[in-house]
């Protein structure tokens, strides 16, 4: 029967074969949990999550929405596909869990619960993450309606405020785009660190020579596939060292789209993408050329006739003078001359909202938790080791004050403080 269940699980993923490296799922639903079948996937959840609806499926997990019964809030729950299929998968799951447990900022989408129906570390095979479900994302909002300048200011301010925190923790988002900006009906914004992207961030930051996984992620992240409309040109030009201003470029593209109502650089492929960028911001100056390491790449791009930077006033007739000024400083080809997140937060366009001491940065404990590899992790080699580590992370979060913290989200602090 256990084997049959395992085969069923494998068969539910069309075209993909997964060897079962771990113990069979528990036959008995543990106390306090209930079981739900949803689109051929079995969910075993605490009893306070109900009314499941499917949301999406990806390479590493499946997501549904559910109602948190005590308050009626809807949440998003992600169930990992076989987190212990290999030590690479286990390592990814562990680091994602650790990172999400660590980051905490009201403009960054965060984990509010994590659970497993498995009774102990040795039998751990199912891991679920929970986050608040925001009503929509910026991509969908822009499909439906044009926003007022006041709304745009509020949205952009919150995106930059979230970025300030992420950057202070040593993380570059690298994939900011409208669908990664969650928005609710109160115009509250949370920057969404996509799950697959998190793994890349974790790996690249820890600088572990995990070639198979790092390279696979690198191929996805360096501008080759999926959405590249919001990606900074230096990423596409294969610069060796990105800076945090790659995210400022993305915000500039988003701001331009919010103001004009259409994408600014909708490239058909990576070559067309660069063509469209230069047709607006102009061909590079000499100091930019010298930063491109590859002579072949430089020669390739230089074949193009010189282009003068377009007049943004003409390009964005609906934009206010302050919005134009900020756009000019964000959409600069040379990342060394591009405005930083901190400076952008102080720009006049956002003056109604800018309060530096209410724009928190990550505490040292957060930064240390992200950059430090703890001894147990360093020693981990077997799946059993990773099970123990992940089990501990789950327990740590479940015992923390942050679990289901959205239930009482009132701000009781008199003074803004470092998170």
């Amino acid at each position: 029967m256990g084997m049959s269940a395992t085969m069923g699980d494998s068969a539910s993923i069309p075209g993909v074969f997964f060897a079962d490296f771990g113990p069979a799922p528990p036959e008995i639903t543990p106390e306090g949990y209930h079981e739900v079948e949803l689109n051929k996937t079995k969910w075993v959840l605490p009893q306070w999550y109900n009314s499941l609806k499917p949301l999406g499926e990806g390479a590493y997990g499946v997501v549904c929405t559910a109602e948190y019964e005590p308050t009626g809030d809807r949440v998003a729950i992600k169930k990992f596909f076989r987190p212990f299929q290999s030590t690479i998968h286990a390592k990814r799951t562990y680091r994602e869990l650790k990172l999400l447990r660590t980051l905490q900022h009201d403009n960054v989408l965060e984990m509010i619960d994590v659970f497993t129906p498995d009774p102990d570390a040795s039998s751990l095979n199912n891991v679920y993450f929970v986050s608040v479900l925001m009503g929509s994302d910026l991509q969908n909002i822009m499909k439906i309606q044009r926003l007022t300048d006041e709304q745009i200011q509020l949205l952009i301010y919150q995106v930059l405020r979230g970025l300030k925190y992420i950057h202070s923790a040593g993380i570059i988002h690298r994939d900011l785009k409208p669908s990664n900006i969650a928005v609710n009906e109160r115009c509250e914004v949370k920057v969404f660190l996509s799950f697959s992207q998190l793994s890349f961030l974790i790996l690249s930051f820890f600088k572990i020579l995990d070639f198979g996984l790092a390279r696979a992620q690198d191929a996805e992240m360096t501008g080759y596939v999926a959405t590249r409309w919001y990606r900074a040109p230096e990423i596409m030009l294969n610069w060796m060292h990105y800076t945090q201003t790659v995210d400022v470029w993305s915000v500039g593209c988003i701001l331009a789209e919010l103001v004009s109502g259409r994408p600014l650089f909708p490239g058909d492929d990576h070559i067309d993408q660069l063509t469209k960028i230069m047709s607006v911001v102009g061909t590079p100056k000499e100091e930019f050329w010298s930063k491109i390491q590859s002579e072949e790449a430089r020669n390739y791009i230089k074949n193009r006739s010189p282009i003068i930077r377009q007049d943004f006033v003409t390009l964005f007739p609906m934009a206010s003078p302050y919005a134009l000024e900020l756009l000019e400083m964000m959409l600069i080809l040379d990342p060394d001359r591009r405005i930083s997140v901190s400076s952008a937060l102080r720009h006049d366009y956002l003056r109604e909202y800018s309060v530096p001491n209410d724009e928190p940065v990550a505490m040292d404990t957060v930064i240390n938790s992200i950059v430090t590899i703890d001894p147990a992790e360093e020693r981990a080699t077997t799946l059993s080791d990773w099970r123990e580590l992940i089990w501990n992370e789950i327990r740590l979060f479940q015992n923390s004050a942050r679990r289901l913290s959205f239930v009482s989200c009132t701000d009781t602090e008199e003074e803004p403080m470092k998170i």
């Binding site: 949301l55 499926e57 990806g58 390479a59 997990g61 997501v63 929405t65 005590p70 308050t71 998003a76 009201d106 479900l133 009503g135 929509s136 991509q139 969908n140 439906i144 309606q145 007022t148 709304q151 785009k177 669908s179 969650a182 109160r186 115009c187 509250e188 969404f192 070639f211 390279r215 690198d218 191929a219 080759y224 596939v225 999926a226 959405t227 596409m236 060796m240 909708p266 058909d268 492929d269 070559i271 067309d272 660069l274 063509t275 390491q293 002579e295 072949e296 020669n299 390739y300 791009i301 074949n303 193009r304 109604e352 309060v355 209410d358 239930v407 989200c409 009132t410 701000d411 803004p416």
Partner: protein, 381 residues
Amino acid sequence: MTTHLPSTSQNGEEISAEQFNRIFHERNVIVLDCRSNGDSVKRANRFFCSLRLPALLQRRLMGGSMRLSTVPDLKDLNNSPDQCPEVLLIPGDSEQDEQLSAALARNLKSNHYRHFVLGEPVKTLLSQFPTLRDAADENWNTTFQMNSMPGQASGQQASSGPLLNLNQLRLEGEDQGGKQRAEFPVKLTNFLYLGNAETAKNRDVLKKYSISHVINVTSNLPNTFEEDPNMRYLRISADDNASHNLTKFFPEAISFIDDARRNDSACLVHCLAGISRSVTICLAYLMKTEMCTLDSAYEWVQKRNASIAPNFHFMGQLTDYEKMLGLNSNRVGTYPSSAPRSPSCAIEAAAVSQVGGLLTPPPTSCSASPQSSNHSAKSFH
């Protein structure tokens, strides 16, 4: 119309539930609801929730650093006095909410807006005037239109449809270019296939397409079946960055692919993702053997797999290779994807003339050195 006395309260004129209902339906008003999200009122708020300020905005208002009219939903407060809506304030039910109410009242007063404060519990208001519940419920799904109330004289249209699209947390981004990523291996000619890491280790796929030759353009992926006497491998050790020169490998790669063609079998060219390095090798082969421009070769491959993206370092090398081959590029001042599409693409014409067969053998013989080829290719046993 009941005559209202001038406001004598620091925090605006207190009104009864009955007055609230009348003003709501008769005048141009904005309702500011300052109640919190506590458990006890969470569900109640669903039926009467005209404005919920984000915590960030609440702090800005209480800090005095922000004008009330800056709140997106309160834009109408910028109107001239005779067109400015009046404000109905529902005070909070906790200490913190009281602070917000007071901040809002101060803000309204200092900017000379006329406002009224509900002096009775919301429960009383809703039980006496159930239509308010229905009216508010309609507005629940019109995010960003919360300043448009049914009783408003202007008859402003609410936006159409709720915004609660649950596309958040998608794990796979939608390709906004609308192109589909091809399944590997991608057939470029009858004997040339483009693949990724997965393709190269799938014996069934290799057999299905008669692939006996494999070019592995990575430094770290294994030649999975190199013990098989029927398989031949050519490894080109290259990483996908700006420090590798693929040009010097073009001749032996071309010779290797031609060897598969002459033996009536097929060659797979793969790297990790099948996007940059392997594509570069395939483009070089097509340019050399079909004597076509980089534009034409690029378009040929892209039609079969939209997700190709040789990095610009490799594109530069291919441009140099094109010049070396003496091909007419027509590319002064343009990029491949910007060039006008030629209706007489060389490969397309060749493909049409070769129904069911191989492409025409190249007019120029391969320039690869036999010695170099033997040195790099794995020999038969």
